[in-house]
Symmetry: C2
Subunit: 267 residues, 2 copies
């Protein structure tokens, strides 16, 4: 069996493209439709109800594109909305929390795991709950880092100031003797160096994107939904604000040029 | 004549309350309806078309509240959308750009004025255009400071890191020998200290909020729309995201407690 319909992916903006990059690597024959809600980003500082409402609108948009599976490539939406969304839609929906939590639980040796994310992701305690389901023995230490996303968007990931801000946020975590840290926001992989500078090189950093791509491959294969036609898949990008700003940063996240990005009203 | 209808005020979020504070001071008998589009903030990084669309939706909401005049208490919306909005609506609409520009033009002695704001406000060159209309002799130097709003929202206005970031943004401006600086974003009055630490105490800082309040008073009075009933006016607050987060910061901006904030869907 072969299902040639695309995979749908959405995020509040651009960060979800780190997941797209891994999907393209692990599932090279799948077409992907990406939606970035750039007119309403960020989600991380907004309430659960609002993030749920936006997420449903994004899913309805992707369903119109005839997708076979949806990846919620946004930690805030995954933690705030995934449970409710899954209840209401028939299509398989994958979030980024559960694969990241599973990977961290399998890596830690001293049973002490850190999580960093946006205010809403941390407030929801979604990673903690998932990890506790896997093992009650694991201690989880969570901290929100609200300025990390604006810093990445400003292109300041490598600046001294970003290292200083990482110190302010992460020094309390550095005292917790963790051996594994979940980067609980799709922008954070671009801040691996400042994060490692505070926590030390021994702490393993878990970037959910790869775990999500592998998990997506398994779900597609188990459900007989894989695209077995051996032709490199296409990526179609849609955004809710003007595509101009998006394009440059998107190419940085993806590591290649993007031909066409279409602006749509998703509400 | 006395018109007891309220004044409508909107902003992308919370910053517009600096204008409300001045309106309450200068026009104490006027009722005010405030709308903060907290579900979709910030506007400063988004395109002109999107900001225009959001602004029109906000105005339609305020019109339902039977307002007699609307203040666009958001620099980004004022610079991106005011001209188009004014064309389409009958009601008097006041932005924050023109009063701030007029004040700066009247203050400067050496004819060298600086402007700082969000990326979209600076890109629009709205302040520059308004100042040039007043006097072609005045040189305008504009710089965007995209991290200033997230820093204020993080409650970091007084931290050393904010002083460091102010240095990065403002050192090029410090070389321009300006004697007047427009704080072209409603959040920036909370950053007067770090800004002054880079530019020196001799540079006069123009906060548009007060100029806007005085201008509103003149418009109301000229049009016979003032409320002459000598009873202290009421403030009604509406937001598009959950009011929880909004309340605490709102009270900081306003300098007094807020009783009730209502969540509404403005789209």
């Amino acid at each position: 069996m072969s299902d040639r319909r695309p995979i749908g992916v959405f995020d509040s903006g651009i960060g979800g493209l780190t997941v797209v990059r891994q999907l393209k690597k692990h599932l090279p024959y799948e077409d992907i439709v990406y939606f970035g809600d750039t007119a309403r980003l960020p989600y991380g500082s907004k309430s659960r109800d609002t993030v749920l409402r936006f997420s449903i609108q994004n899913i309805l948009f992707l369903l119109k594109k005839n997708v076979k599976l949806i990846v919620v490539a946004c930690n805030t939406a995954s933690s705030a909305a995934l449970c409710d969304i899954k209840k209401n839609f028939k299509i398989p929906i994958i979030g980024v929390i559960s694969p990241g939590a599973a990977q961290a639980a399998s890596i830690t040796r001293n049973q002490r795991v850190g999580v960093i994310g946006t205010r809403e992701t941390i407030r929801s305690r979604a990673y903690e709950k998932h990890i506790k389901k896997i093992s009650k023995e694991i201690k989880v230490f969570s901290f929100s880092c609200p300025l990390f996303v604006p810093l990445v968007q400003e292109g300041w990931a490598g600046k001294t100031i970003t290292y200083d801000i990482a110190s302010v946020y992460l020094e309390p975590l550095a005292k917790k003797n963790i051996d594994t840290l979940i980067l609980g926001c799709t922008h954070y992989p671009l801040l691996k160096a400042p994060v490692a500078s505070v926590l030390g090189r021994k702490v393993k950093l878990v970037d959910s994107a790869e775990a999500v791509a592998r998990h997506t491959g398994r779900i597609l294969s188990d459900a007989g939904l894989s695209n077995n036609k051996k032709i490199r898949g296409k990526l179609s990008c849609y955004v809710s604000d003007e595509p101009g700003n998006f394009k440059k940063v998107a190419e940085m996240f993806l590591g290649h040029k993007l031909k066409r990005i279409e602006k749509v009203d998703n509400v």
